[in-house]
């Protein structure tokens, strides 16, 4: 009989918690991270198929990739059959592969769970299904936790958003994939709890009287809302839950689309579909690293020779071919985070041929995410309405998740429910801690 732990498998960050001796412990599994209890949901697979997660993955990626050399080789990948009216022929298909690529970095893995089409990816000569990728990550977390606790872990309570997807079939498929991955990772008993409910359980520890509580769980991938009755374990009740697939990564994408793309030629490059396609791929974190192909380089060189926006296209070339995508997304995210504490920030990145300086204000950010704000306001009111309560009947609003710190959403909650009701939970660890309590109850 092994231990049971709670795992918050988040879009940006993850964590492992355990309930022992009437206390919740969130394990400090990433000693290289500034907050060791938080493990970045990042996986790096090297060309010899070794796996690294968290800050270690990030550091190795930087060490092996920035400004590295490339060598593209033509590789046969298969055949295509052509059937015409009176003819049939087979054509070989080749792709260009960078044979010096030292590894592959994967982030926002959880977001892939809500995708209808994503089944997995090719990493060098092996195909990794989505459940393989998640299993590798969960297995690494399990190993680290076992090594720290000096005991085998057999059961896990995994957090899940209220809705992976608005489509019930996709929602079920996502949970099935996550369940399968947990089994592959070596957990014998796997159960699930809604992430906001887990956050509520943690908050409940601090309550002395029963309350109607709205959990506002706003992380990297989704916003989850749950209205619950808490404070009396015998009368715990979920009145309503709701959610929307908007969160931190969508805000980053909005910043890139509205503020960063002009640095790479948007607005200056006209009537050149190949180059425009490269520019419009920048906000797609999964596709950008794949752009470093001889064809893309040839297109860029052609456009540069033609004298099209040379400074911007040089910057685009540098972003693509110096493996700066990860640094770029981090820079955008860091700018967004710094706007939570101040009214102004500078998005700055200076590398070879790439010089971004963008003064960015909170007012601009709020304008850029206006559409998302309206959607969030709507889902918030819908959830309150579904609970059968008026906003005034909500006793407390508990914020959790990194994006819940964005001031415009605190103001939104304050306006709706009264600012005195807004409680900040531990933004990164409350879900993990709640899952640890749930795991203890399930064991």
């Amino acid at each position: 009989m092994g231990l049971h732990v709670g795992i918050d498998f988040g879009t940006s960050n993850s964590g492992v918690g355990i309930y022992q001796n009437d206390q919740v412990h969130v394990l400090p599994l990433d000693t290289k991270n500034i907050v060791p209890e938080v493990v970045k949901t990042i996986l790096y697979i090297t060309s010899d198929y070794r796996h690294f997660i968290g800050q270690e993955a990030v550091e190795l990626y930087y060490k092996q990739n920035i400004n590295r050399q490339r060598r593209f080789v033509k590789k046969w990948v298969g055949e295509i059959d052509y059937h015409g009216a009176e003819m049939h022929y087979v054509r070989d298909v080749y792709v260009y592969v960078d044979e010096l690529q030292p590894g592959r970095l994967m982030q926002f893995i959880k977001t892939a769970l809500r995708s209808e089409k994503y089944t997995g990816t090719q990493v060098f000569d092996r195909f990794y299904s989505l459940s393989d990728i998640i299993a590798i990550y969960l297995h690494s977390l399990k190993q680290r936790a076992e090594s720290m606790l000096q005991e085998e872990i057999s059961g896990v309570t995994l957090g899940r958003p209220v809705k992976f997807s608005q489509t019930p079939e996709l929602d079920q498929k996502a949970q099935t994939t996550l369940h399968q991955a947990a089994l592959e990772a070596g957990f014998k008993q796997v159960d699930f709890e809604l992430e906001p409910v887990a956050a509520a359980l943690y908050y409940e520890l601090s309550l002395s009287n029963p309350q109607n509580v709205l959990i506002f769980d706003f992380g990297g991938g989704t916003l989850d809302l749950t209205i619950m009755r808490l404070g009396d374990s015998h009368q715990r009740m979920v009145y309503a839950s709701g959610g929307i697939s908007i969160a931190g990564s969508d805000f980053d994408r909005a910043i890139i689309q509205k503020r960063m793309l002009p640095h790479f030629g948007k607005g200056l490059v006209q009537n050149d579909p190949e180059i425009l396609n490269l520019i419009h791929t920048i906000p797609d974190w999964a596709a950008l690293p794949e752009l470093s192909t001889p064809r893309a380089r040839a297109e860029l060189e052609r456009a540069l020779l033609a004298g099209q926006a040379p400074v911007r296209l040089k910057a685009l070339e540098s972003l693509i071919f110096n493996d700066l995508a990860f640094s770029f997304y981090n820079m955008v995210e860091a700018t967004k985070i710094s706007l939570s504490s101040g009214g102004v920030a500078v998005a700055r990145m200076k590398e070879k041929d790439l010089d971004i300086w963008e003064l960015y204000t909170r007012a601009q950010f709020e304008k850029d995410i206006q559409e998302h704000r309206e959607q969030i306001q709507q889902v918030l009111m819908d959830t309150v309405s579904a609970s059968g309560m008026e906003p005034g009947q909500i006793d407390a609003v508990v914020k959790t998740g990194g994006s819940s710190n964005i001031p415009v959403f605190s103001e939104m909650l304050g306006r709706t429910f009264g600012s005195e009701k807004i409680k900040s939970s531990d933004v990164f660890n409350s879900v993990t801690a709640g899952l640890a309590i749930k795991a203890h109850q399930n064991s």
Partner: protein, 397 residues
Amino acid sequence: MIDQNKIDEWIHEVEERPASAALIIQYIANRLSELASREEELAAQNIELLSGRKVEEYESRITILEYQLDLLKRQLGGETVLPTEMPATKPFLELVNLLVYNPMGQVLRVELNPTDLTSGQTVARIMGESPLGDIRPNLLVTNSQEELLFLFDTGRTMALPVTNLPASSEESLDWQQAFIEEPRIKEELAAIHPIAKMSLYEACLQTSRRGFVKKIRTAFLVSHITEKYIGTGVKLPADKTCGLTFADMEDLFVMVSQEGYIFSMRVDRLPVAIEEVIHLGITDHIVAWFTAGQKPSLIFITQNGKAVHRDTSWLEPASSFKTKGQPLPSKERREAGTRIVGAAPVDEADWGVFLHNDGSLTTQKISELLATGSVPAGDKTNSILSFTSFHVPEVNK
């Protein structure tokens, strides 16, 4: 990138949160300062362009490229128009050119047929009562398509194709019949170096007898050659330049002294200004210099015909300049008078050529030399004056 819309947005931020005003001013001021210094750099570059300095630099580069093109043309036989009816192809036999030259600018060239080479054979003999005089000649083996650079100790250079040197009869090499590029007053011919492949390398290393080295980028060397002056490569009055070698930055450069001290160091660490990289004794001087390349072995030849063999990995690259060097022979042997006359990186397919003090030139297969450990000598008074190695070119069909 800063347009009116953005400025309006910043003003809007200040209206909403007046505290942001100070931050915005600070960020913009920092950026202005950064841009001002960059503008100054660009203005300086612009002045260079306007004053013509950049033009001169580009003209110099064009001259270098034209020289290299000329060199290639000469190697490939110029712009000869091929006859419309091609003659039947015959196997093309690449001859080995053995050059013997002395400080007086005299050069003897012997053409050797590689298929006739046998190990231990005397391939030529320098005739006369005193065939070598008081001066020690040097050896060089090259192919017929080479371009040779004559390097004089004054730093003067002269380039000419191998085939411009008259070939001597094998039996009787006579200095009286030698090609002569007469040195100027107080000048000596220091070395002859093949340069046809220099554009394939990143750097050229000029070496002096007293262990000084200067690294020149190949691109700059071309302009030196065009100007027929490369520099003396020395700092001390008693020193003299003794040779050149081409190398890539990651190669291991090796120098060997007569008393058997060896200096080795990666080329990228070598100085671009003339510097003493190995500190030699007062009576010692450099006799061999080369890059280790991909050859697995090093061979060192002593004046009494001993062939000392070491793996290339035996070299211990120096960590600093002015070191004493890695010793090869023991102290006892050195004190007993053992001296190195030549050294080279080799593999078993290579050949060695030896100049004996009686004027005879002999060849030997390196594989045999590695096996026997010594160069066959006629009698005990016979000693070796000079050694070099070469690779027999394959027959082109």
